[in-house]
């Protein structure tokens, strides 16, 4: 009986106390016709030794590759201390900190996280995290519509991650919110402020501004932010948190700064792990704090006057406000934020700046090397952070297959998302790549293209 501590004696004593003659009696209020005839497709239990071997074998099947894929999830070094501490039982197996006096560890850590994220994004306040970057963007869109007087339309450049755009649509669809997409400049790979002029008379609740955008290209964030504010729309920044170590934070974009900043927190110490769990972050200007969804931690004092931390502004939330809540969300990604906070304490401002700088430099160096391969070209002229689109002389799928056989995951195939770009692939080289890795990629790519 895995994980059941009861001895036969316990069972009999407990049943006697209850006045039941068997455990089955405890289910006597359930109509017998509803009772299950068993779990026929659930295999018999394994012990820990057996499942461990099975999982080890499966993990080994999946192998290890030298990966140049980015596209919203980035390979960064994660200090060993991060997860050794985050998986301590006291963090790992604790509940949402409703009982504040028994949860000061989690609550103080979340307050520290909020402080860091507010500073990193240049905003006034941060919540305690969202599910992931894509859903955080959808929540920001809903927040914009809630706070806007008259428009239920959101303007999103097509340089925003295509999946993020899908997620926003899926989440806002049933609330009668319209999503309008903006084209990008084929030459620079960024959103042209001129393209916005076409929307002269239309009203929007918000303009979404990615930085860097999905192509790795840096947008003209100041002009875009000012345009939004000129239209009485909110400016919502979707940002890479590593990039914020060197890029202007959303809070300082344009004249007044963006109003909301969201993004994917994964680069901050979270393993790639086939896509999750990650965490989304959301920060905003003070004026919007009561429209912000998700958990928020506040500092207060206890009855002896000592500092302490609590969940606050709960009146926004579903467990208090029910159908009138700002969102139905009730979990944040607490454990991920625990890891991210430790990660940021270990890297510090200069460490994160170097990680960003090295990733940037590696990607530029890789681009330069790859362009020496016949038929390989950089697609966009705009300035880059740590990703870039290249075009290949033939179908991307074939190149990727060839490189995979050589132990390399070449990048993300863009043919489906942006067919207009031809045989285009999105590549990324973070600080984890050595110059030997870049040379290796270049050499293997040359091999694959020249000897297909």
């Amino acid at each position: 009986m895995p994980f059941i501590p009861h001895t036969e004696e316990d069972i009999q004593t407990m049943l006697a106390s209850i006045g039941a003659s068997s455990i089955d009696d405890l289910f006597d209020e359930i109509p017998s016709e509803l009772k299950s005839d068993g779990l026929k497709r659930v295999p018999a239990g394994l012990n820990e030794m057996e499942i461990s071997r099975l999982m080890l074998e499966r993990a080994e099947t999946d192998g290890r590759y030298l990966s140049f894929i980015g596209a919203g999830a980035y390979e960064h070094h994660i200090p060993a201390a991060v997860w050794q501490i985050a998986t301590r039982g006291e963090f790992y197996s604790s509940y949402t900190p409703y009982q504040a006096e028994a949860s000061q560890g989690t609550l103080q850590l979340l307050y520290e996280y909020q402080t860091i994220m507010a500073s990193l994004t240049g905003m006034d306040v941060s919540n305690a995290s969202m599910y992931d970057g894509a859903s955080a963007l959808a929540e920001a869109a809903l927040m914009a519509v809630r706070s806007h007087k008259s428009s239920r339309r959101i303007l999103i450049p097509s340089t925003v991650h295509p999946v993020y755009r899908s997620v926003v649509r899926a989440i806002v669809r049933n609330q009668g919110i319209e999503v309008v997409e903006l084209p990008y400049c084929k030459q620079s790979g960024r959103t042209l402020v001129e393209a916005l002029h076409g929307f002269g008379k239309e009203e929007f609740a918000a303009l979404v501004i990615p930085q860097p955008n999905f192509f790795g290209v840096l947008e003209e964030v100041d002009a875009l932010t000012d345009w939004a504010h000129g239209k009485n729309a909110l400016a919502i920044g979707v940002v890479n948190p590593t990039a914020l170590a060197i890029l202007t934070p959303p809070g300082e974009w344009g004249e007044k700064g963006a109003d909301v900043a969201v993004g994917e927190g994964q680069p901050l110490g979270i393993p790639l792990s086939s896509g999750g769990p990650y965490f989304g972050f959301m920060a905003c200007k003070q004026a919007l704090v009561r429209q912000m969804p998700g958990r928020i931690i506040g500092r207060t004092t206890d009855q002896d006057g000592k500092d302490g931390f609590v969940l606050t502004l709960q009146a926004r939330e579903q467990h208090i406000r029910r159908s009138k809540a700002t969102s139905n969300i009730c979990t944040n990604q607490g454990l991920m934020v625990t890891a991210a906070t430790i990660y940021m304490a270990l890297t510090g401002p200069e460490g994160l700046r170097r990680i960003a700088g090295r990733s940037h430099a590696n990607t530029l160096a890789l681009l330069e090397k790859l362009e020496t391969v016949k038929g390989v070209k950089k697609v966009f002229s705009g300035p880059l952070f740590h990703e870039a689109v290249i075009s290949l002389p033939g179908p991307v799928e074939d190149v990727m297959r060839g490189l995979k056989a050589r132990g390399i995951l070449a990048g993300l195939n863009l043919e489906e998302y942006y067919p207009e770009l031809g045989h285009a692939m999105l590549i990324c080289a973070t600080e984890t790549k050595t110059s030997g890795d870049l040379d290796n990629y270049t050499k293997q790519l040359r091999d694959v293209i020249e000897n297909p």
């Binding site: 006597d28 497709r41 197996s93 790639l272 086939s274 207060t300 990604q333 991920m336 510090g348 170097r354």
Partner: protein
Amino acid sequence: MLIFEHSRPGRRNYSQSPGATADVTGIPPDLMRKTPPMLPEVSEMDAVRHYTRLSQKNFSIDTQFYPLGSCTMKYNPRACNSLAMLPQFLARHPRAPESTGQGFLACMYELQEILKDVTGMAGVCLTPMAGAQGELIGIAMIRAYHESRGDSARTEIIVPDAAHGTNPATAVMCGYKVVEIATDKEGDVDMDALKAAVGPQTAGLMLTNPSTLGVFEKNVAEMSKIVHQAGGLLYYDGANLNAILGKVKPGDMGFDVIHINLHKTFSTPHGGGGPGSAPVGVAPRLLPFMPVPVVAYEDEKYRWLTEKEIPQSIGRLSAHMGNAGVLLRAYVYVRLLGAEGMHRVAEFAALNANYLMVELRKAGFELAYPTRRASHEFIVTLKDLKEKTGVTAMNVAKRLLDKGFHAPTTYFPLLVPECLLIEPAETESKETLDAFVAAMKEILEEALTQPDLVKSAPHNTPVRRLDDVKAARELDLAWKQSLTRTATESPTLNAIPTVTPS
């Protein structure tokens, strides 16, 4: 002390940063940050020490009994953690080809199949990242179903008054009006209220069963019939699935869609408030609307099905494929349990709950539904105690912290005054339950003899009773450097000590 108060300008962890690069080139200066973000500048040891000590200020399952009703705080097997964190699993990029993830995908596929069997559903999608997102997806599918039939007059979702707050909040997020129906004295949904509420405007009913009152809705089959006859669909909130695991399948009760909180029934860690994970199961008529991706097994290979294969899908709700690492933990857990183990989960959750209920009654506590069996949880009401002594449910909860027990859920469900919703979970031993009863008995006596001791609790926690009102009124959501550091001490970019840096 906050981590920022340990911070000193220029302090650095050289082991945790790449060597210095030349200045960033190729980025226009107007896009570059001018002042560095306020990340802590502490040594690796001080960070380790700070967060290790912080962790010790938490209660957790690994250190305390957590009889938190509706949350199912049970043991999180350590093997689930270590096996989900095998290096290859952690290193796999979500956009890596499916061929590099056959081991991972095999686990996902088998988890889907197991959850289908457990819920009695025709299809399962693993991607929802939390219970509330599972609900959103479930109700969105109900909406998509009605719309696909051109049945656009259905504008209401019926929700019992005892439901979790997420139920009405979700219905509203999907553009529905919420109709609340009452609970009868026995804790069941009032059938007359239900009959009065249903009609051609009914899109569906959201139900938790066993309910948040800790009792099994005996009339669930009839409720299902009433709603279906009116053309509505039935949504099963899986928050309390632990109580009936292996015993009753939601599909057999007539439900069309269900979410399963893996962090409850399948014992993935709560992690101080997440990540959750809430796969959604659907009856055959909702299969065309499932969110993507879903794992398929064809020609001896596992692969993701996407919008191409499920064109009527309500779409994607997460950037990748949900909380994969949480799903791996749940997979390990279900394989450890096996079919027999799942039955035992419900059996021993029920045994512990009913035993604890009976023992607390014997100790002098009043039950909210004394005529009913407990499911995996039950409700004590302290209404009389409060009238007699002024001691509230909140006071008793805080006093439990002093005695080394986490508090039960308080003031939920809202319809029972001064309530404690108590769920012991199946992994606790009889001795722990007995110790909890003894503590509750002590508190009862304290309430009668020294009520101020209980009212001013907690006394032994790292902080005493915190001022929530002040927190909300004088919002302090981020530490301000200016309060304890002078401007000249602020961290600056490139502030590297000049002594032999590496």
